[in-house]
Every structure is written in structure tokens, then in C-alpha cells.
Amino acid sequence: MTLNQQRKLKTILTGLFAWTIALVLFFPIFWMFITSFKTELQAISIPPTLFFEPNLDNFRVVQERSDYIQHAWNSVVTSFGSTILALIIAIPAAYSMAFFPGKRTKDILLWMLSTKMLPAVGVLVPIYILCRDYGLLDTKTALVIIFTLMNLPIIVWMLFSYFKDLPKEILEAARMDGATPWDEVVKVVLPLSVGAISSTALLSIVLCWNEAFWSLNLTASDAAPLTAMIASYSSPEGLFWAKLSAASTLACAPIVIFGWFCQKQLVQGLTFGAVK
């Protein structure tokens, strides 16, 4: 075999291998998707049915039973709302830590991350009682506040890792030209960090959309996002796999499709601090 042939064979083998892993890992999602178009009988047939006449009945039933649109709207409002709020709070903090580090900057950052290690169950009861006393149970407001605080440490940390690597000379040059601190942020730092901010926002949106602990425990019907809607299908509909799949597909489709378009950006964001 010549070197060229050898190289070609290697490429083909790598490709085959990569495709196999990808298809195996994706299979459960694929299976959920096609099951949602089956009848209940087809859904549980053994051997599994691969070829069948797709029908949309399950989706109709799900919308009728649990008002999908309402829950999806709750998910959108809570995840986008809290992400925007968290960014507004986090950007100034990350900026000041990255460009004007003090003696205790490192400690503050580690402390922030450590609040994230605080398990939610540890504070479930107090938060539940506070929400009850202030009439915030089953409201989107409560979820937005909690999601904001929940993701704040990760957002500050990701933005900090990125800001820290921005060349300081640019800022100094701007300052020489008489830029005020406000100009510095708005005209220099922000335009340079559009990519970083959007990947941070993406991660935060994904985490909020899929957050299940607080949404299961603090909402009932009005403010329940899609995670809570799906949980309501877990026991009574446990044996109706086609309807279950339809509900699951509907719950995941928006964020999965959103994620497909942004995956590159998202992963790059996560590796800011990781790749040198």
C-alpha cells in the first residue's frame, strides 16, 4: 500500500467510526421522534416497526390535553428573561474583575462558583416558603429570579475567562484617545465580545430550558414550563408511548433545533477558559 492509499484508508475508517458513535448516541432521540408518529399499537410492537404510515393524532391529543403552546411560552419567557437579566448583572462584574483585578478577585470568583456547588435541595424548603409567603408560587417571576441567580456564577466565570484574554493594549489606546470608562465598555469591549456573550447566553438558555428541579417543585399549572409538563406525562401516560413521545418531541424540538444552529458557538464558548 502506498502512503497515499494508507492515508485514504485511515480517513475512511475514522469516518466510519465517528458516524457509528454519532448514530448510536443519537438513536434514542431518533427513536422518540419516529415513535411520536406511530399508533399506540405500533409503538410497542416487537420486533420494532420501522416502516409505517405516519399519523399526527398524538400531537393533536397532546395539545388538547395539556395546552402545549402555553407551556412552551412559559419556557421561552423564563429562559430568555433570566438569561438577559443575568447578562446585565454579570457583564459589569466580569469586566471589572478581568480588567481591574484586585488582590481578592480570584477568591471572589472561586466563591461565586462555590455558590453553584450549593445543592438546590439544601435550600428548597426556605425558597418554597418564601415563594408561598410572597405569592410567587406557580409564577414565571419566581422562576426568572431563581434561574438568574442559578446561572449567574457560570455566566460571570465564562465572561471573565474571555475578557481576561482580550488584549489590554486596545483598552489603553482607547483611554489615550480620551475614552471614558463607559465608552470603553460600549465601544471597545462589547463589540469585541459579541461572540463570547452570545455563547454564554446560549449555554444559559439551554440550562434554563432543561432545568427541572425548581420548575417541578415551584410550579403547578399556570407557570409550568415544558419540563414540568413532561413530568406530568410520566406516570399516567407511561404505557402510552406514542403520546409520550409526541409530548417529548414537542418539548425538546425547540431547544434541540436552536442548539443545532448554535452548537459551534456554544462549544467554543465553553472552551474559552479551556484552550490556550
Partner: protein, 286 residues
């Protein structure tokens, strides 16, 4: 810039997180020292450390602590080891790389509740599931995953969610590896294993640290997968601390004991954080 302005910029984040930490935590500490059962309102007298004693002597306590740690370590090992190996293997150009990336990352976007429902029903069901069908086709006895291997089932579900995340972070990191260095090593007669061991692994130290840190945060608090799939059972076989405390608070209405448990969970998280973050912390950009 003046120190006061930098402080002012940090203030909102720091104050909010302080409030978020201190208010609920001090309430939890207070609740953990009183009798507080929602079924018996009004009898909130001080009981000292009795709630802690109750929680620690609960038959679910030891299993819950060990399950929490087993779950954390297994998923970390599976995702990091498999993640590094797989990403090193697919880190070469091949046909349809873009589509493979998209397929690979997908499980990361699936919500934990749906994740658990798919695996519990369509994959692991002992009669109608895909696994059962595969075993039958091979002439084997189908396994009832959730009742025979409950903790392992949860580990599979959680790993499925986090493995793609690890692979993609590592692949992205590998793309920044110096190819000239690799070629030079090859010229000098280094084997594939040597390149992997002495060039690739050190290059991945930081991404591994990041993956370990992010995963630890989420793995200590695994809840939805257990809630939806095994319900912590059979017995306490798949109950972790988060689920045990949830059980105390919302199913047995015993807020006092649940708060004591919550404090214990905070303590455990801090111990894990101390060791783990110290171990990988050198590699974090802080």
C-alpha cells in the same frame, strides 16, 4: 480606574449571590434545629440536633451518600475517559463532519425528564424496549434494567447526556493542538500511543478540568432522572441525597429533618468541591 468604581460594578453580582446564599441557608439552619412538620402545624419547639440524628440514622442515609458519590465518580470517569478516547479518534477530517457534530451534541439538549422517559420506556423496558428486543434476538434473557440495575440505569442515562458534551469540548480543544509538534514527534519515531500520552493528554489538561468542574456541579444534584425513572427504588438502591431530602420534605412533610439533610448535602458538596476543585483548580483560568 478608581477602586470604588470597580467595586460598584461587581456589587450587584456579589450582593445578589450573597443574598441568594445567606437567606435560604440561614433559614435552613434555623429549620434544622426546630420541630417542623407540615402535618403538625404550631408545634415548632427547639429540638437541638435531633433532626440531624434522625436524618443520619435514616435507613436511606448511607445508601444515599454512597449512591451520590458512585453516580458522580462513575459519570465523571465514563465521560472523561471515553470522551478523550473518542475525541482523539475522530479528530481527523472525514466525510460529513458537520452532521456528525450535530448528531453528537444532541443528547446534551434533551431535558433530563425526557431523557429519563425515553430510556425508562423505549430503551430499557423489559418487554417492549429496544434492549429487550436485542437480547431476545441474540437468544438471551431480557434484563429488567430499572429493577435489577437501578443505579447503573441512572448512570447510563446521565452519561448519555454528558458524554457528547465532553466529546465536543475535547474535539474543539484538540483542533488547537500544534500539528507540527505531532509531525516532528512522528519523524522521531514516536508511536501513536506516545503522541497521545505525552502530547495530547497534557494539551487536554485544561479542557478536562473545565469539564470535570461543570459536570460535578450538575452531577451532585441529579434529581429529575431519578424522580421520573426509578423513583429512588427499589428500596434505596437508586436514591441519592437530593432525592432523599426531597422525599423527607415533600412526601413526608418533615421540614426539620429535610433541612438537616439539606445542610448535610451542602457539607458533602463542599467536601467534594474542596478535593475536586483543588485537584483540577490549577488548570482552571481563575
Amino acid at each position: 480606574m478608581k477602586r470604588s468604581i470597580t467595586r460598584l460594578l461587581m456589587a450587584p453580582s456579589v450582593i445578589l449571590l450573597l443574598v441568594w446564599m445567606i437567606i435560604p441557608l440561614s433559614m435552613t439552619i434555623y429549620f434544622s434545629t426546630i420541630r417542623f412538620n407540615l402535618l403538625y402545624p404550631g408545634e415548632n419547639n427547639f429540638v437541638g440536633l435531633m433532626n440531624f440524628e434522625f436524618f443520619i440514622t435514616d435507613p436511606g442515609f448511607i445508601p444515599a451518600v454512597s449512591n451520590t458519590l458512585i453516580l458522580l465518580l462513575s459519570v465523571l470517569i465514563i465521560t472523561v475517559v471515553l470522551g478523550v478516547m473518542l475525541s482523539a479518534l475522530i479528530d481527523k477530517p472525514f466525510f460529513g463532519q458537520g452532521i456528525v457534530r450535530v448528531l453528537l451534541i444532541s443528547p446534551f439538549f434533551i431535558m433530563p425528564t425526557v431523557n429519563a422517559l425515553i430510556w425508562k420506556n423505549m430503551m430499557m423496558n423489559p418487554v417492549y424496549g429496544i434492549f429487550a428486543w436485542i437480547s431476545q434476538s441474540l437468544g438471551l434473557e431480557p434484563i429488567d434494567w430499572l429493577s435489577s440495575y437501578p443505579l447503573m440505569s441512572v448512570i447510563i442515562m446521565v452519561s448519555w447526556q454528558w458524554l457528547p458534551f465532553a466529546i465536543l469540548v475535547f474535539v474543539t480543544a484538540l483542533q488547537s493542538q500544534d500539528t507540527e509538534q505531532k509531525e516532528a514527534a512522528q519523524m522521531d519515531g514516536a508511536t501513536g500511543w506516545h503522541i497521545f500520552r505525552y502530547l495530547t493528554i497534557p494539551h487536554l489538561a485544561r479542557p478536562i478540568a473545565v469539564v470535570v468542574m461543570i459536570e460535578t456541579i450538575f452531577l451532585l444534584a441529579v434529581f429529575a432522572e431519578i424522580f421520573v425513572s426509578t423513583g429512588g427504588g427499589p428500596g434505596y438502591d437508586s436514591t441519592n441525597l437530593a432525592y432523599l431530602i426531597y422525599n423527607q420534605a415533600l412526601l413526608q412533610y418533615d421540614v426539620g429533618v429535610a433541612s438537616a439533610g439539606g445542610l448535610f448535602a451542602v457539607l458533602l458538596a463542599n467536601i467534594v468541591a474542596f478535593f475536586l476543585i483543588r485537584a483540577v483548580g490549577k488548570n482552571l483560568t481563575v
